[in-house]
């Protein structure tokens, strides 16, 4: 017993795991993405009993179990940064070339923040409460990247 200090003659066998997949957004998620892409509108759903507004939308309120999928509300394209970090490492799965600011953004009228990218500001000057607005993608995109990024007001 050497506590694992002796690593002589210990092989590391290389493996390569591939994870190809697709992802079904569902009917509710699809409506959200379509509105983003085709109408440049950000939609959420409001729970009539809790009063919570969820963005991105969901079929049921996980708190009170009301069905809320058809309770669409349009949100403003502006909101504020709740929290943020800076992505500095590069990887194939990332949506942008680092470094970039990844922030939780709460839109006006929404109760749930969602993650997106902030551009047009030095990371050193980003602060919680900073007002930002959505900048939509110039070409149609079928994901949350239909909003290309947020920028300071």
């Amino acid at each position: 017993m050497d506590g694992g200090a002796d690593k002589e003659h210990c092989f590391v066998v290389e493996a390569r795991m591939a994870l190809p997949n697709e992802y079904f957004a569902g009917r509710t998620g699809s409506r959200f993405l379509t509105a983003l892409r085709d109408e440049k509108r950000i939609l959420g759903v409001r729970c009539p009993s809790c009063g919570m507004t969820f963005v991105p939308p969901r079929e049921y309120c996980e708190r009170c179990w009301s069905k809320i999928a058809e309770n669409w509300v349009e949100l403003e394209k502006e909101g504020e940064i709740v929290a943020h970090t800076v992505v500095r490492y590069e990887d194939r799965h990332l949506p942008k070339k680092p470094p970039y600011i990844l922030a939780l953004i709460q839109l006006k009228g929404a109760d749930t923040p969602f993650p997106h990218i902030v551009e047009g500001v030095d990371p050193a000057y980003v602060f919680p409460g900073m007002a930002v607005r959505a900048v939509f993608a110039k070409v149609p995109v079928n994901t949350l990247m239909g909003i290309d990024h947020f920028e300071p007001l």
Partner: protein, 400 residues
Amino acid sequence: MGRKRKNRNAAIVGIGQTVYSSHREDQNQVEMVHEAVRNALDDAGLAVGDVDCIVHGNMELFEMQFQPDLWHSLGLGALGKDVFRITTGGTTGSSLVCAADNLVASGLYDTVLAVGMQKLQEGNTTGGITNMSDPLWFRNMQTGALSGTSAQAVIGEFGEERGRRAAIHYRIMMDNHAMLNPRAHRKLGLTYERADELMKTSARLVGDLRLIHMCSQSDGACAVVVASEEAARRAKTPPVWIRDHVEVHREETFTNLFGFVRPETTQRYAARKLFGRNGITDPVKYFDVFEMYDPSAWWGLAWLREFLLLEGDAHLRMLEEGKFDLDGDLPVNPSGGVIATNPIGATAMLRVAEAAMQIRGDAGEHQVAGGVRHALASGFGGTFWTALIMLEKDLEWEMP
């Protein structure tokens, strides 16, 4: 042989299934899970607040998503509850029911919700399974359900003609059953007149395993509510008692450890152990229905002998004589089984759910006539993991 001691009885009081299909684009994973949960609670006449604990699972990596349980909690009704994730490959659905049984029977929780799900269309199942093994190391060879070994064994023992005819007979019988089940995913309308043609024309997968013999790839979820005897009396549906269950696992394939001497199958071991400790000497006579996890027609055929503790060609004779038909002595898979419907993480739970529906007598068109009092359900997963669960209509046995 060891006995399991239950502190109290546990019963299935709610069953919820989703629509099964090759693609569920209309729902994301959370929404699909929620459909099953909602249906199970509605069936039981319970509210989400009545649930104390949730056990949830799917087959790892088949959606290529790490820890899906975190996301699924939104649809499970998990807010503020104890939640466990269980993943035992194809066996997951039955392991979830076994866990729910243990959690209730131990006295720790009164009402446990068990939820199994899979969205096979979202991921890459072969990728997931291939990553289990390293063929040159002692991480054993894995094929999942796609294996030619059972066909080879049946043909080796009973000959090409009888073996192939029995497998296609089994397959057509399953499709006949699936045609009666409104929830079954694949319903092909096969007839016994087509047996000769199918045996020749269906695409070969491995050896004598052909596409027609093989289980489906489905999207779907299943949920069951397991409650203590006291809590079960509050549900609106009649309780289906979980009498006992056993789970057996062996980590090897028979050729590399045992040479060419085949060990006792985990199916036979599970049956021997479960029936032995419950005093059941003739399972064919005792059980009124058997919902078996049959990954292919060949495996279904071979395992009938194991689970029912039969010898020689008794299982083939029973099949040939129609004893496993919906109106036979021991109907097997009135639902159409796994070959018809296979959302893997839910598949083994479907066996239990369908067996419980048979006991309740509300299975619909695929209901076994004459009343079902004793039902058997099995689960299967990679590296010969086997689960076997006994369900009863009446509380009339002596608790071990």
